[in-house]
């Protein structure tokens, strides 16, 4: 139960000679919010469509992860600058139609930047008449974290949820009896019940594609490589390098989320580079797998049961004479 945090989960599950642990690194700093990942996931995994609801809160009409959304692109609008980016840059002198006419080859005369604003950054031209000077969009494609210590898997009473040889966490839909225990157990709010079907569903990291040596559908479809798939060790190195690049460029908000193998879930198999606090994206700031507290809970269950038995004995012994 108290798993060694650094142990490979496939080793712990008893696989011998398994492939390296595979994972996702989602670099949200290059996400453009196109939702190609959501669509590719639905297509490949035959995930049912959900209602065409407009949330009215942003360009995000998916809302969150659930039984029928295994990727969810969060969309956040903030009155804040992104690193040292200028928002008031004028592109008035750029002939976009002429640029488009050049095709997709390297443009020959296009200026690399627009006209720099006069004066310092604080004097950026307001993009809106109401005086706003700063604006940024954050976009992030969320997914099951394939936790090193996965609460959903620990609590599943049927063994439907299992650890694959790639170190990922998958539901076997022919075993799940819809008990629903995994749903409140997940500290990230990922897995959920499909109402008309009764069973629990979530991202499989395209287990069927992995087995065939392919990358998951979302990573394949992502046009900006915001979603990167590969051996987790490599991804972690790549993420560290990317974080350094961003910090050197002055993006002080950049941080890695779920990368640390000593965190409350032993590190995520799918981790992220974020540009704000996790809760801004709907992620818990410090999730902990509850299985870590379970030995203590069992002890207390034992104590409580013992106390009840003792109280019952006492109740019968002390009342014997008064009959």
């Amino acid at each position: 139960m108290a798993a060694a945090p650094h142990q490979d989960p496939a080793d712990r599950a008893g696989y011998a000679g398994h492939p390296p642990r595979m994972g996702f690194f989602t670099d949200t700093s290059v996400c453009i919010g196109c939702k190609a990942c959501e669509v590719a996931c639905k297509e490949w995994n035959a995930v049912p469509a959900d209602a065409l609801d407009l949330t009215g809160m942003s360009y995000d009409n998916t809302g969150g992860l659930g039984a029928d959304n295994w990727r969810h692109v969060a969309f956040i609008e903030q009155r804040r600058p992104l690193g040292t980016a200028h928002t008031g840059v004028s592109h008035d002198d750029l002939d976009v139609l002429a640029l488009a006419g050049q095709g997709t080859g390297a443009p020959e005369q296009a200026p690399a930047t627009g006209t720099p604003p006069a004066g310092d950054i604080g004097a950026d031209r307001p993009p809106q008449p109401d005086g706003r000077t700063e604006l940024r969009w954050l976009m992030s494609s969320d997914v099951c974290k394939h936790c090193t210590e996965a609460a959903c898997l620990d609590v599943c009473p049927t063994g439907s949820l299992f650890r694959t040889e790639f170190g990922t966490v998958v539901v076997q839909e022919d075993i799940c009896n819809g008990c629903g225990y995994c749903i409140p157990a997940c500290p990230y709010g990922v897995i959920d019940q499909r109402k008309d079907d009764g069973r629990a569903w979530k991202c499989t990291m395209c287990y069927d594609r992995l087995g065939a040596g392919l990358e998951p559908a979302c990573a394949k479809a992502c046009p900006t490589d915001s979603i990167q798939y590969g051996p987790l060790d490599e991804l972690r190195e790549r993420a560290d390098a990317r974080l350094r690049t961003l910090q050197d460029a002055g993006v002080d908000d950049a941080r890695l989320y779920g990368r640390d193998p000593t965190d409350g879930v032993g590190g995520d198999g799918a981790f992220f580079l974020l540009l704000d606090e996790p809760e801004t994206y709907g992620l818990p700031p410090d999730p902990v797998v509850t299985t870590r507290d379970l030995p203590g809970m069992w002890r207390r269950v034992g104590l409580a049961a013992g106390a009840l038995a003792a109280a019952a004995v006492a109740a019968f012994v002390t009342t014997r004479r008064s009959r």
Binding site: V155, C176, D293, M297, T318
Partner: protein, 322 residues
């Protein structure tokens, strides 16, 4: 909290820059448009609330039935044996009814996982229900007495665990108002079971019901005390137990517990007064379970209860907070 549904990412930023410090620091937190972080339990209140209540009642009733049989209290024994079988059956039925695929119930028996309280509970209830059933059938018909005694003893041995494990069942989730209660829930639930089963025993003739009365009074007292201790220990995440529907249920549970316990003392010479007290204690236990159930769901639906305690934990571990 005013920002329950309105706290968007920009909202938090604005508030932070506002510069004004309220007298009582409000729980400020960022969220994604105020949406919950967790996926709240999909369990139906009637099924899982009922499962918690009937399971607890069944487990302790089996203990009282065995004690009554051993000490020559046949009417109390019959009543509680029937209660153990009936409540156990109802609890099991509620568990199966709440499955998304009830026809696949048997998949629970593929594995026994100590990391899954639901798995452990299934393996406890699995033998408990038939044992309690055989014991009750024998006690009520007077046939196969040897077998009945054996089955009743088996059910009584499993009983305390059946009553207690549901505390771990719901505490072992990410639901803030359940998980933060993990130290106390096994005691709250066990005490609640004792109050309920003792309450059932109060329906027996007063000549025989004394041990049930003792358990009922002790259970009710411990239930109220353990709940208060739990609340005190939890801090912010206990808030849902004091507001809205869960708050009303918890308060009703406390009032009924106290009334039932007082009635059990004062009405000890009257079978009618005892039975009324017993009914109050049964209702108290049901209200407490449902209150805890709904309080947990409410805590999962509000991101505040997920974000604020986790932020505090991070600040504490960074040394910014005591």
């Amino acid at each position: 909290m005013s920002h329950r549904s309105s706290a968007g990412p920009a909202d938090r930023t604005r508030r932070r820059r506002g510069g004004e410090q309220p007298m009582v620091p409000r729980a400020e937190f960022g969220s994604y448009y105020g949406k919950p972080i967790l996926n709240p339990p999909v369990w139906a209140a009637a099924d899982v609330g009922g499962y918690l209540f009937f399971g607890g009642l069944a487990g302790t009733s089996a203990v009282i039935a065995a004690g009554a049989r051993l000490t020559g209290r046949p009417r109390l024994a019959r009543l509680c044996a029937a209660g153990a079988a009936g409540a156990g059956g109802l609890s099991f039925a509620a568990l199966i009814h709440d499955l998304g695929r009830p026809d696949r119930f048997l998949n629970m028996l593929r594995v026994l996982k100590p990391t899954s309280p639901m798995s452990v509970g299934t393996w406890l209830l699995g033998p408990f229900v038939p044992l309690a059933g055989v014991a009750a059938a024998s006690a009520l018909t007077g046939r196969f007495r040897g077998l009945g005694r054996l089955a009743g003893t088996g059910a009584a041995v499993l009983g305390p665990a059946v009553s207690a494990y549901t505390g771990a069942l719901i505490a072992n989730t990410a639901v803030p108002a359940w998980h933060d209660a993990h130290r106390d829930l096994p005691f709250v639930f066990t005490a609640s079971s004792a109050a309920a089963a003792g309450g059932l025993g109060l329906f027996a003739p007063t000549r025989e019901s004394a041990p049930a009365r003792v358990l009922a009074i002790a259970g009710a007292g411990c239930e109220v005390l353990a709940f208060e201790r739990m609340r005190h220990r939890m801090g912010l995440t206990a808030e849902p137990y004091g507001t809205g529907r869960p708050g009303r249920l918890v308060r009703a549970g406390t009032v009924l517990s106290v009334a039932g316990a007082v009635g059990a003392v004062l009405g000890r010479r009257s079978r009618v007064a005892s039975a009324a007290s017993g009914a109050a204690l049964l209702a108290a236990s049901l209200c407490t379970r449902l209150g805890i159930f709904h309080g947990g769901v409410a805590s999962a639906e509000d991101p505040k209860y997920t974000v604020v305690p986790q932020r505090e934990r991070l600040r504490r571990s960074a040394g910014d907070l005591p």
